[in-house]
Amino acid sequence: MLLAATIYSLEDINKFNDSGLDIFILGNKDFGNRLVSSFSEEEIKEAKLLIHSLNKQIYINVNLIMHNEQIESVTNYLTFLKEIDVDGIIYGDIGIYMLAKNIGINKLMIYNPETLNTNSYDQTFWANKEILGIVISKEITIEDIIKISENKTILTGIVGHGYLNMFHSRRPLIKNFLTFNDVESEPFIDNHNLTLVEEIRDEKYPVIEDNQGTHIFRDKPMHSFSEFDKLKQAIDIFIIDGIFKDSDYLNDVIKDYYLCNKKDKVKLKDKLVKKYETDHDTGFLYKKTVYDKY
């Protein structure tokens, strides 16, 4: 299994490489959603050279929900990524797979729609489309993750650590709300310090509005320290998403997972919680959602 993580800046590359990271995930805000940082084409070229010189891999997040008027610019972007020879492209919109197929890079594509890869057939289906891999949906239990991975023929990953997204609207919901209340909205766009609290709950859900719409996240970042050994046997890529944290936090987390098999896993989590004053949970790994009886 390879460890993958988002990076905050090009300086992270050597640092995270030393900590044991295998795959570096970058993106640009015009083509990627919920990124920790936005990298220009020049920066991505530079990152690619450095990452390949370290014998590591570079993945690019092109996970926008693509609207018709973006087809041309996304095609150009995919062509650029093909030319500079990245190792993987993460997409969440099937239209982007079609564009990639047209320019002959379907074998670089990793499908991560976040909510739609939920059963074993999704693995088979996308394997038949000759892509590089899929990322299993975030609301799937560890039991099902293992089952889905059993007969895999393409790379299969999960997002195993970080704040998971739980909502994406095309609507500018923060701007609209503030405009309605006569509050200047500009300081609150692309602002990573905002949270929503529901009226009868205590949890604080991070929320961002950007040029792709409005995104709401789980209140706690997930971790998989105790499950890491089991997951290692099942999946190929373990993704760490650093959104709402920083480079130091990410570096600690990468090191922790890299050395996870040699350490006390409960202590790893407790140390992280204490150092960064952030509680973590295990997401949906043990939480079966209901749908017919409640």
Binding site: S169, N176, N191, F284
Partner: protein
Amino acid sequence: MKKPELLAPAGDLEKLKIALIYGADAVYIGGKKFSLRARASNFEIKDIKEAVEFAHSLNKKVYITTNIIPHNDNLEGLVEYLQDLEKINVDAIICASPVIIDTALNNTNLEVHISTQTSTTNYETINFFKELGAKRVVLARELSKTELGLMKDNTDMDLEVFIHGGMCVSYSGRCTLSNNMTDRDANRGGCAHSCRWNYQLFENDHEVTSEIPFSMSSKDLQTVKHISDLIDLGIDSLKIEGRMKSIHYIATVVKTYRTLIDDICDEVDIDLPKYLLEIKKAENRLTSHGFMEGITSIEQQLYNMRSENPTQEFIGLVKDYNEETFIATIEQRNKFNPGDYAEITSPNFENMKFKIDKIMDEDGNELETARHPKQLLKIFIPFKVNEFDMVRKIKL
């Protein structure tokens, strides 16, 4: 000018009949399996068969939603279920998950429509589903008329567009608010509508504004003013949302759009205020045109809890009419009294008003008021009405 299909929801057999009688060309229903409304469904295979036979007798269609995003343990019986649907001649299934799409295509001759749960927002995705063998895509609700035009220009696939009803504020299929906040899986029919709740917005520990709660709740979609454009674009099917809505809602909404589509295609002068007034009678939440004109603004959001109630109240469903005595038998739906003013809405004629005189029970006893739901009552109506016509209380 190509006349688009008018597609309506039906939560049960009565609603299905109402939708078709009031002018829908097709209805969509959820069975007890693989549907996002499975929990509330009344449709066993035998009921779906009855629905299909009824629709086909009117040369109309029935589509079955099999639109869940299944996990591994939700797939038992899928092939058999789809084969059963094929045997009873349903006209199509509406689905989103590859396992359901491929199972249908590989094991049956069912026509496959791709659900809005896939949030299809571009023509490349449409063409992907075409290559798979689907016949139609139900497009995402986040598309403007300009985008719809671009899509129509770049595919020959059948396109279905939502024109009326409740809206997910999230891209459909991409939301797990409910999963996270209530452990209920939105993509398997458990949505708790957490997007309709009240929130506070903080920056760090400071509340950004406390004037009113933060709300992301969407107004319902209503596109009376846009139907003409959608017809010009060549959209193949215009879809109304609301499998949980009442028969009065279904009748009113379907009839309004039916008349509007017919009038546009017959090139009759369109009196938009008339249609807007009529559709308002079914409104139980404020409405807007959604994304028809592009990215939404405050006009598309609900910022207070107050929703306007319908100004007209549905008081009875006509079951029978005696042309000699002018006495109609109606089934009570809301309280009314002698002396109330009422109007009849009917699939067969424009709304007609009358004053309610005496109200009698089935045995001819005169009643002071009609207060019992579903009680059969007899009232005098001075013009011919038909089974399935509806009586609304109005203020003159």
